[in-house]
C-alpha cells in the first residue's frame, strides 16, 4: 500500500501498464509536460514515440485511436477536459463506437479515452461539463467514473486491458490521499461498490459526487437515518444488480449525479429502479443533479448549481 492522491495513482497505473505491455501508447495535448499530472514523467521514461504530444486536434486524435487500435496497438487518447470529447465526438460516435459492429465483429478496439469532468474549479462552462450521458447512449463503448485514488488506479488498469473503447473520466482535482494497493491492482469494469451499508435509503453516487454522498450519509446518521451509499464506478455497463438489491432492501433511492438532469445517468438509474424494483419502493425516486444550465464561473454561482452535501441531505429528508 502507498498513500497517494488521485493524479499520482493514475500516473502509477499508466507506468505499470506501459511497463507491462509495449503496445500501450499514450498521446494527447501536453502529454509530456502534463497539465493535470496524470502523465508526469511518462515521456522521459517511455520516449516521445510512445508518449506523444499532439497538436490541438481532437477529431484526428479520437479517430486515429481507432486506426491504431485496429492496427494492433492499445492507444490511450488523453483529451484533457471532458468538454473536448464534444470536439472529437464524430470519430467517437461514428467510428469508435460502431466500427466493430458495422464490420461484423472483425476487430477489437482496445482504446482508453481519458478526460476530467465536472466543475468546482471556476473553470467555467467549457471546462466543467459532465458529458457521460451522451457517451452512455452510444453503446459499443464502456464508461468508467472512478471516485478516488484507489478506484482511479484499479479502473485505469482494467480499462487499458479491456478490448473495447473505454471512457475513463475522473474529477479534475486530485482529492484526498488514501491507501492505494502497490501490487497489480485491478477493479472489474461494471461492478459498483457499497461504501456504507444502511437500511433506510440507497444513495447512488457517481464520480466526483461520491465523496459528497458519503459526507451526507454521515450527517444523516446523526439524525438516525442510515443510508446505504453506492459508488457506481461504471456507467456502461452499469451494475444494475447492486442497485436493485440495495433498493429492495431500503425501499428508497436517491441518485447524485453532476450531469444535467435531462437524460442524465441519474434518470437512467431511476428508470432501472422503476422497472425492476417498483414493488419495493416506498417513496418516489429522487435525482440530485445539475439543472439545465451551463456551469457558471463565479464560485458562489458554481456552488449554487452543483449538487452539494446539503442538497443530498435535504432530498433524503423529503423522503423519510
Amino acid at each position: 500500500m502507498s498513500r497517494m492522491r488521485m493524479m499520482p495513482a493514475i500516473n502509477s497505473a499508466l507506468i505499470e501498464e506501459m511497463d507491462r505491455d509495449k503496445k500501450v501508447i499514450l498521446y494527447g495535448e501536453d502529454a509530456g509536460i502534463s497539465l493535470l499530472g496524470q502523465t508526469t514523467g511518462l515521456q522521459e521514461r517511455f520516449g516521445k514515440d510512445r508518449v506523444r504530444d499532439t497538436p490541438i486536434c481532437e477529431n484526428i486524435m479520437t479517430g486515429m485511436a481507432v486506426g491504431a487500435a485496429a492496427a494492433g496497438y492499445r492507444p490511450i487518447c488523453h483529451l484533457l477536459y471532458g468538454n473536448f470529447i464534444y470536439t472529437g465526438f464524430d470519430s467517437i460516435a461514428n467510428q469508435a463506437a460502431k466500427l466493430k459492429y458495422m464490420t461484423g465483429g472483425q476487430i477489437t478496439l482496445p482504446i482508453v479515452y481519458m478526460a476530467v469532468i465536472g466543475g468546482g474549479r471556476s473553470a467555467a462552462a467549457q471546462h466543467s461539463d459532465t458529458p457521460y450521458p451522451a457517451l452512455m447512449n452510444l453503446g459499443g463503448i464502456k464508461v468508467v467514473v472512478p471516485s478516488s485514488a484507489r478506484s482511479a488506479k484499479g479502473l485505469l488498469k482494467a480499462a487499458i486491458r479491456d478490448d473495447n473503447p473505454v471512457f475513463y473520466l475522473t474529477a479534475g482535482s486530485s482529492g484526498k490521499p488514501e491507501e492505494v494497493p502497490d501490487d497489480d491492482f485491478i477493479l472489474p469494469i461494471g461492478k459498483a461498490e457499497i461504501l456504507r451499508e444502511g437500511n433506510d435509503i440507497t444513495i447512488v453516487a457517481i464520480g466526483p459526487m461520491v465523496l459528497k454522498a458519503v459526507e451526507a450519509s454521515l450527517v444523516l446518521e446523526k439524525i438516525g437515518i442510515h443510508a446505504e451509499v453506492i459508488d457506481l464506478l461504471s456507467l456502461l455497463p452499469i451494475d444494475e444488480e447492486t442497485i436493485i438489491n440495495s433498493v429492495k432492501k431500503t425501499g428508497r433511492l436517491v441518485i447524485v449525479d453532476e450531469a444535467r438532469d435531462v437524460c442524465s445517468a441519474a434518470s437512467h438509474i431511476a428508470a432501472i429502479a422503476a422497472d425492476k424494483a417498483f414493488n419495493s419502493l416506498k417513496s418516489p425516486v429522487k435525482r440530485v443533479t445539475v439543472d439545465n444550465l451551463a456551469i457558471p464561473y463565479s464560485p458562489i454561482l458554481e456552488d449554487q448549481v452543483i449538487p452539494n452535501v446539503e442538497n443530498i441531505v435535504n432530498t433524503v429528508r423529503e423522503l423519510i
Binding site: 484526428i60 491504431a68 485496429a70 492496427a71 461514428n94 464490420t103 461484423g104
Partner: protein
C-alpha cells in the same frame, strides 16, 4: 513534385497489365450490376457507385500488399475490390446476407476486410481520415515499412479533419498517402460552387509533396502512386495526390426518385463517358495500341468477368439471411 511522366508502363509485364485491366473491368461490371439491381429493388439499401473512377483505386492498390492499410469512402466498392477484397462476400453484404463480409450489418457503406488491410468504406465524409492516420502511426511504430492510404473525395477535402490529418502526418513523417479523388461533385452540388482554391494546394503549406494527376489516365495514376508509396516506404513522410476524375453516376443510385430537379446536364455526363475520357476505355485503348490485347482477348476477358459477377450475385441471392440473434452481438468485445 512532378509526376514521373513515363507514358508507358514498360516495367509491367503484359500479363500484369491484363490483370490490372481485368480488375478495373470487374469493378465496373459489379457496379453496373448494382445499378440495375437497385432499380429492381434486389437489395435493401442505397449504393454509391465508383463507375468512372476505377483507374485510381486499381493503380494505387497495385503498389500495396495485404499488410498495408487503406481507408475508403461511401463510394467504396472499388477500393475494396482493388485491395483484394472478395467479390462474393462484398455482394452478399450489399444484399444484407449472413455470408456478407460484415455479416449483413454494414452494407454497401461499410464493406471492410481488416485481414486484408481494408479498414472499410465509411458513411461519414472524411471519416476515413482518422483511421488512416492511426494505421499510419501504427505502421511507423512497427518499423516494417508498411504504408497507409486514405482515399477521399473533393467533398471530404472541405472537412476540417483534413487539415488536422495533414498537420500530424507531416509533423510525424507518417507513411501516409492522401488520395483525393476529385470527381467534381460533393453529393448533388458541383464542388466548384462550394470550394475555394485548388484542393491540391492545401497540402503545400504543410510541407507535403503534392502530385496532381489525371485520375482517368491509368498510367499517370500508376506512376504517381508508385512515387507516393515509395516515399512512404522509405520513411519520407506523406504525399498528397489529387486525382481529377468524374463521377459518371449520381451521388447515389436511383436519386431521381427523390430529387426534385436535375443538377447537371446530360451533355456534361456524356462527354465523360466518351472513349477519350472514360478510364476503362482509355486503358483498354492503351492495351490495344501496344498489342497487349485484341478483340478476341477483350471478349474473353469480358466473359470471364461477367461470370465472376454473375457468380457473386448468385452467391448473394442464394445466401441465407442473417440469424436474428446476430443483431445483438459484436457491439462489445
Amino acid at each position: 513534385m512532378n509526376v514521373n511522366k513515363h507514358n508507358t508502363l514498360d516495367n509491367l509485364s503484359d500479363e500484369k497489365l491484363v490483370e490490372l485491366y481485368k480488375k478495373m473491368l470487374l469493378i465496373r461490371k459489379c457496379e453496373e450490376h448494382l445499378s440495375s439491381a437497385t432499380k429492381e429493388g434486389a437489395f435493401p439499401g442505397a449504393v454509391h457507385l465508383y463507375i468512372g473512377q476505377e483507374a485510381i483505386a486499381v493503380s494505387m492498390c497495385d503498389h500495396l500488399t495485404e499488410d498495408d492499410w487503406i481507408s475508403s469512402t461511401h463510394r467504396g466498392h472499388g477500393h475494396f475490390i482493388a485491395k483484394g477484397g472478395d467479390v462474393n462476400t462484398m455482394m452478399a453484404e450489399i444484399y444484407g446476407k449472413a455470408t456478407g463480409i460484415c455479416n449483413g450489418k454494414g452494407g454497401s457503406m461499410h464493406v471492410a476486410d481488416f485481414k486484408k488491410g481494408i479498414m472499410g468504406a465509411n458513411g461519414v465524409v472524411g471519416g476515413g481520415m482518422g483511421l488512416a492516420i492511426g494505421a499510419a502511426l501504427a505502421a511507423s511504430m512497427d518499423k516494417k515499412n508498411k504504408v497507409s492510404v486514405v482515399f477521399f473525395g473533393d467533398g471530404a477535402a472541405n472537412q476540417g479533419v483534413l487539415m488536422e490529418a495533414m498537420n500530424v502526418s507531416s509533423l510525424w513523417k507518417l507513411p501516409l498517402i492522401f488520395v483525393c479523388e476529385n470527381n467534381q461533385y460533393s453529393e448533388f452540388t458541383h464542388t466548384s460552387e462550394v470550394t475555394s482554391g485548388k484542393i491540391v494546394d492545401r497540402a503545400k503549406p504543410f510541407g507535403i509533396p503534392t502530385l496532381e494527376v489525371d485520375g482517368n489516365n491509368f498510367i499517370e495514376m500508376w506512376q504517381a502512386s508508385a512515387q507516393a508509396v515509395l516515399r512512404a516506404r522509405n520513411n519520407q513522410g506523406p504525399t498528397f495526390i489529387e486525382a481529377h476524375t468524374y463521377r459518371q453516376r449520381g451521388h447515389v443510385e436511383f436519386e431521381y426518385s427523390f430529387l426534385s430537379r436535375t443538377y447537371r446536364d446530360q451533355d456534361e455526363v456524356n462527354k465523360w463517358l466518351a472513349n477519350d475520357k472514360d478510364p476503362l476505355l482509355r486503358f483498354e485503348q492503351y492495351l490495344f495500341d501496344n498489342s497487349i490485347i485484341d478483340n478476341q482477348k477483350t471478349e474473353a476477358l469480358n466473359n470471364e468477368v461477367d461470370s465472376v459477377v454473375k457468380e457473386s450475385v448468385s452467391f448473394a441471392v442464394n445466401s441465407p439471411l442473417p440469424d436474428l440473434s446476430s443483431a445483438f452481438n459484436n457491439m462489445i468485445a
